[in-house]
């Protein structure tokens, strides 16, 4: 049986006269990152709070691992779901280690297990425990504080983690680094993530699936590629903004568009490089050695490498062997916008 991690079925939520959610329905698959994106005040935070019952729906059903959350004890539910907010809300009177240990303590883990878990998470977050365990949050930088916030949310190894604009208060460079790091961490932890942002670029970068919100409604729920390819409404197209082609390059992986025939395909990359049998059209980097990309790198990276070299074809390498090549033309084809968009 394939079970959804989280399901929203016709969920409505009003606060007095304000209708925050006007019937939303979608489900989140286990192990994926689903991003809720939309302008401020459109109901993203509310959606998230319905999952761990910081709010209850006015109408409709929210299910967590197949069960209606209304049937689960609030406190138990919250302890089994990670939660990170933009303001982080670190406990300033507790050390980094005590902060991270919050939920395990609430769950009555024994001290030894808690200590091990704290060290493991600080390690994962690139905050060496020997150095940071006993620090107070005030002594940390914004980026480090947010890492502690994420570690605290992950402490009891939740199946699902809710992240409400977690990187929103950081400067662009820190934010970018943290996004990259988080993508790596995510591969190691296999947690289902529901991620809120108002920044479409962050959504495209982080999401396996993206739910685009207009006031109180989900107007499109799809993969980043499909959303860029076929924006469902004019609102979505406006929200994506300029440079849709370039954005597509950022989300599109080289493996999806490469051509798999050619003289060097199938050969070992080390051989191709060392024998000097590199065909003239293969791209080289600044020092003149042949360049390459990995199949899961973005077409943007590939394009950048092609533009910087004389060659017209860039080898795609996976597990040490050449699995295909990409050219500027192929990337161009993949990124060009459809000539005409017809809205229903």
């Amino acid at each position: 049986m394939s079970q959804h991690a989280i399901e929203f079925e016709n969920v409505r939520k009003s606060y007095g006269d304000t209708l925050a959610l006007d019937g939303i329905s979608f489900s989140v698959e286990p192990g994926t990152t689903t991003v809720l994106v939309g302008p401020s005040g459109c109901g993203k935070t509310t959606t998230m709070k319905l999952v761990n019952r910081l709010e209850d729906p006015t109408d409709g059903t929210v299910k967590f691992e197949g069960q209606d959350v209304q049937e689960v004890d609030k406190i138990d539910l919250r302890r089994s779901i990670g939660y990170v907010i933009q303001d982080i809300g670190l406990f300033d009177h507790m050390t980094v280690a005590e902060n991270v240990a919050t939920v395990p303590r609430l769950l009555d883990w024994d001290e030894e297990r808690i200590d091990e878990r704290v060290d493991e998470l600080l390690e994962l977050m690139d905050l060496p425990p020997a150095q940071y365990r006993e620090d107070y949050p005030r002594e940390l930088s914004g980026g480090q504080r947010q890492r502690v916030g994420v570690a605290r949310a992950l402490a009891a190894d939740p199946d699902v983690m809710l992240m409400d604009e977690p990187f929103g208060a950081l400067d662009p460079i820190t934010r970018d680094n943290l996004q990259d790091e988080f993508l790596e961490i995510q591969e190691q932890i296999n947690t289902t993530i529901l991620f809120v942002t108002h920044d479409i670029d962050e959504a495209l970068k982080m999401g396996d699936k993206i739910a685009i919100y207009d006031v109180g409604e989900v107007v499109q729920y799809d993969t980043p590629e499909n959303i860029l390819e076929n924006p469902a409404t004019e609102f979505v197209e406006d929200f994506i903004g300029q440079n849709r082609g370039l954005k597509k390059l950022q989300v599109l992986e080289v493996g999806h568009i490469m051509s798999t025939d050619g003289r060097i395909v199938g050969q070992s990359w080390a051989d191709v490089r060392s024998t000097g049998s590199v065909p003239a059209e293969v791209a080289t980097d600044e020092s003149g050695t042949p360049a390459h990309v990995a199949a899961d790198q973005s077409t943007e990276t590939a394009l950048s490498k092609l533009v910087e070299s004389d060659g017209s074809k860039l080898p795609v390498v996976e597990n040490g062997s050449v699995v295909g090549t990409v050219s500027v033309d192929q990337i161009n084809d993949a990124s060009s916008e459809p000539k005409e968009i017809v809205y229903e």
């Binding site: 919050t102 939920v103 609430l106 005030r138």
Partner: protein, 249 residues
């Protein structure tokens, strides 16, 4: 009450005595009364300690409870404010029919006077805790009691300590007047000094009273700083704070 009136009237004649008094008088006073003075200091501290032991749990509980209801908060803080404006002599008088004379009415009064700083600072301290922090606590699955105990009260402790400090400073002074209704303490010598026109007795006792207040004030200031340090705050530390913090950590 008529005694008090005579005392005040008599005190107008103190001026000549004051001029006549020399260093010698102070030496005589100290050699004769030093032991008794120490006993009175102990009595005074005892009254303060008992009052604070009663006042702290009441004040903090009230301060915590009124965070749940804004109307209750307004009413309780207003009442505590009004109670402070009642002159201590009047309050003793009102309480004597119920508690008799001696320590009990004075201790009850001191508990009443310490409520405003205690309740107010507990309330303000708890409300001053950053909303994001309590929200995070909720989201992580802390119950309301767990949030109070693990987050709000610890974070508010420095502010609560300030309230305690204010309360102690206020009631050390009020307790001196308690001698008038037989509670003992340093007030005994002040009243005796006025009655017997013994200026050295009044002056020395007053100085001791002021020093006692300053000592308590300082002690609480240091402990407040220790709590702030414990909470990870960065502050200008007094020298004793620095020393104690080193020993403690």
């Amino acid at each position: 009450m008529s005694t008090l009136a005579t005392l005040v009237a008599d005190s107008a004649d103190l001026t000549p005595v004051l001029q006549a008094s020399g260093v010698q008088q102070y030496q005589t006073f100290l050699s004769r009364y030093a032991g008794e003075l120490l006993v009175l200091v102990a009595e005074h501290i005892d009254i303060i300690a008992v009052s604070m032991l009663l006042a702290i749990p009441i004040g903090i509980t009230l301060g915590v409870l009124i965070t749940f209801n804004e109307t209750a908060a307004t009413v309780v803080l207003w009442l505590a404010g009004v109670a402070m404006t009642v002159p201590s002599i009047a309050l003793f008088g009102l309480l004597i029919p119920v508690f008799g004379i001696g320590e009990p009415p004075v201790i009850v009064s001191l508990v009443v006077y310490s409520q405003l700083p205690l309740v107010r600072n507990t309330y303000v301290g708890l409300n001053g805790v950053d909303d994001a922090v309590t929200q995070a606590g909720r989201g992580l699955g802390m119950t309301q009691v767990e949030r109070l105990r693990q987050i709000q009260v610890p974070m508010a402790l420095p502010v609560i300590m300030t309230g305690l400090r204010n309360a102690v400073v206020i009631i050390i002074g009020v307790a001196a007047i308690g001698a008038f209704v037989g509670a003992g303490g340093l007030g005994d010598f002040i009243f005796q000094g006025i009655r017997e026109r013994n200026v050295p007795m009044i002056v020395v006792t007053t100085v001791v009273l002021v020093l006692l207040t300053l000592a308590f004030d300082y002690l609480f200031a240091i402990s407040e700083q220790l709590f702030r340090l414990r909470n990870g705050e960065q502050i200008d530390q007094a020298r004793p704070t620095r020393a104690l913090w080193k020993i403690l950590s």
